[in-house]
């Protein structure tokens, strides 16, 4: 909690009827100088990335690294098993018969990338998270069906309970409510 005076609040939540209103509101809030905020919607809305000025995720880079490590791991395992741990001489053919190691290397590359993608996405999103203040608002139950929400958090340096409330009211929401922490 940044504001000692308001320890009982996570932020203020405005509810909107459609995606257009939410993107509009998010853009206006950012232009008004708010930074610590989040939008909630039942569908992914690409325009929100720009409206909220979200940074591009690092996930693709992580997945690339995961894939490379998976591939190297798979090939190293095959090399170690076939050349060092359990060499088997078949008609004096080379022990490191690398073309035959490619299918498994490919599969472990895919596995490494996919596991990194899955674990990485949830970890970056800090999920699973059993508790979050937004669920304290009753109306938020519709965030997973047909309603759109914008939350300005108290940690925002520009957050001021009454002024922010007024600002959100000015965006023509369905309603504004306080989010208990």
């Amino acid at each position: 909690m940044a504001h000692a005076a308001e320890p009982t609040l996570h932020g203020l939540m405005a509810e909107f009827e459609n995606a257009t209103a939410l993107v509009d509101a998010a853009t206006k809030a950012r232009l008004a100088g708010y930074r610590k905020m989040d939008a909630y919607s039942p569908i992914p809305i690409e325009e929100l990335n720009e409206a909220l000025d979200l940074k591009r995720t690092r996930l693709p880079l992580l997945v690339l690294i995961g894939g490379i490590l998976g591939g190297l791991g798979g090939f190293s395992l095959e090399y170690w098993v076939s050349v060092i741990a359990y060499p088997m001489n078949v008609g004096d053919r080379p022990l490191n018969s690398w073309p035959q190691f490619i299918p498994v290397t490919f599969e472990t590359t895919v596995l490494g990338a996919a596991l990194t993608c899955f674990i990485g996405m949830w970890a970056l999103n800090k999920l699973p998270q059993p508790y979050h203040p937004v669920f304290n608002v009753d109306a938020f139950g519709r965030a997973s069906t047909d309603r759109f929400f914008l939350v300005i958090e108290t940690t925002d340096p520009r957050f001021e309970r009454h002024a922010t409330w007024k600002f959100l009211e000015g965006l023509h929401p369905v309603g504004v409510s306080e989010v208990a922490p």
């Binding site: 919607s41 569908i43 098993v81 190691f101 299918p103």
Partner: protein, 470 residues
């Protein structure tokens, strides 16, 4: 279902226009109506009588599977009909058949996503579930063919064991282990990732505290945050991109099990593409077999429209023709090779003791599918249901022919023999069908069979209004 969400009436002109290409989703739907229609199937307290009836039949077959496996583990794989020279029979036929069926799920969920095929949205969830269940059924066959799976694990996976023995990485069978286990894992991750936002929807709509708790746990606390959606969408696309080469590799590797050997009828370079096309062909047939009753009994015709049925038929037509081309090439190369063993293999398939199966598969996979050219056939749902079942039979026969006719008469006439399955072979096959159906029935009762959040993205409400961009 709430009647207030019924689609709006359309003018005759609009209907005529829409008539040529049916819509991906019937007009008039909103976020709420989509969510309610799909969510209702899961959250409703009443389970339809038909569900119990279907599950009961599946459960009986599942018990047949348990009995077969029990007997197999007590007595050993001698209870099956395969023996030298036909050392591989139902255990690999059914494996390839099930794995092939699974491929359509990944094709729909990953490849069609990358190609921005909007019609995939309403069929991808249950097609992916089909993939998972099919892989589970498939994996059972090679695993149980080892006789003592708990002892055989060191043949399959490289782990430091007390004997100091390691798997042979030059063998296609080990490639298969890696391909199938990776495929199963990645499909499960992809499927679960897709389910999470829907779990949040069910959590928020469930009336019973128990359901809310279970769906709440499965939703991982998903709250639809814009930051989360951004990473989520990136991850979903990445998983699709990763799955695309994976699915092509899996059936290629399965075909290597045969193509890398020297046996006439198996040793063919055409196998990987021919197997992949066959997999997609049979998989779409299975998707159709499942989709037709699903849309009928759960009244999902608005979401699984004639567009989906038409497109699936067209995919089957294309892939089926590739398979038929594969048959023609097998025959051509047998003749062109001037190799007496290759030639005899083909002659034996066409005129030998199993010829009736060969001609049945040609009849189904090369001749019957020509019916799909006709729009009247593509519009006839009961007929399509029968055709889709026949396609699955045809593809099963294809694997039977490839495996059994190649093995039963190879190079040495003195080692020729006939193969016949025993009742335990049939029991195990019927049993895996039971397992597949039982899992599928549980799936449609407890999880949303159509991806709710993805369906929301294709209703008009999801589009931002134009003035915003000004």
């Amino acid at each position: 279902m709430d009647k207030s969400h019924a689609p709006v009436a359309l003018s005759a002109e609009t209907k005529a226009l829409l008539g040529r290409t049916p819509a991906v989703i019937e007009p008039g739907h909103t976020f709420e109506s989509v969510t309610e229609t799909i969510g209702h199937v899961v959250l409703s307290k009443r389970t339809p009588i038909g569900w119990f009836l279907g599950f009961f039949i599946a459960f009986i077959l599942l018990m047949v599977l348990n009995m077969t496996i029990g007997n197999l583990l007590m007595k050993g794989i001698g209870i099956w009909g395969n023996n030298v020279p036909v050392g591989w029979a139902f255990d690999i036929i059914n494996f390839v058949w099930w794995i092939g069926i699974g491929h359509a799920g990944t094709l729909i969920s990953a490849i069609l996503l990358l190609f921005r095929q909007q019609w995939r949205t309403s069929i991808n969830r249950f097609a992916e579930a089909m993939t998972l269940f099919a892989v589970a059924c498939a994996a059972m066959f090679p695993l149980l063919h080892t006789g003592r799976p708990w002892l055989a694990i060191y043949w399959l996976f490289p782990y430091p064991n007390t004997m100091g023995i390691w798997p042979q990485f030059r063998s296609p069978l080990i490639w298969d282990v890696f391909a199938v286990s990776t495929y199963g894992t990645v499909s499960a991750l992809f499927w679960f990732t897709g389910l999470v936002p829907d779990m949040a929807t069910l959590r928020d709509r469930a009336k019973s505290p128990f359901a809310r708790r279970i769906y709440g746990m499965l939703s991982l606390g998903w709250r639809g945050s814009a930051k989360h959606w951004q990473r989520y969408e990136t991850a979903y696309l990445l998983l699709a991109g990763i799955s695309t080469p994976l699915v092509l590799s899996v059936h290629s590797v399965v075909s290597f099990d045969f193509a890398v050997s020297v046996l006439p009828g198996w040793h063919a370079t055409i196998f990987p593409p021919y197997f992949v096309a066959g997999a997609i062909y049979s998989g779409f047939a299975m998707v159709m077999t499942l989709a037709i009753p699903l849309r009928k009994f759960y009244h999902l015709e608005d979401f699984i429209t004639m567009r989906h049925i038409h497109n699936m038929t067209k995919v089957m037509l294309v892939t089926g023709m590739i398979v038929a081309f594969g048959y023609s090439q097998e025959a051509f190369f047998a003749w062109y090779s001037a190799n007496p063993y290759e030639q005899y293999m083909m002659y034996n398939r066409m005129t030998g003791p199993y010829a009736v199966f060969y001609w049945s598969l040609i009849g189904i996979n090369a001749v019957m599918i020509q019916l799909f050219w006709f729009r009247s056939v593509r519009d006839n749902i009961p007929f399509l249901f029968i055709l889709s079942l026949l396609v699955n039979v045809g593809m099963w026969l294809e694997r039977f022919i490839i495996i059994v006719t190649s093995l039963h008469r190879d190079f040495l006439p003195s080692s020729w023999d006939m193969y016949a399955p025993t009742r335990w072979d049939f029991g195990m096959f019927a049993g895996t069908i039971g397992l597949f159906l039982a899992l599928f029935f549980l799936f449609i009762r407890f999880l949303p069979a159509i991806a709710i959040f993805e369906m929301r993205t294709i209703v008009p409400e999801a589009k931002l209004k134009a003035e915003h961009h000004g």
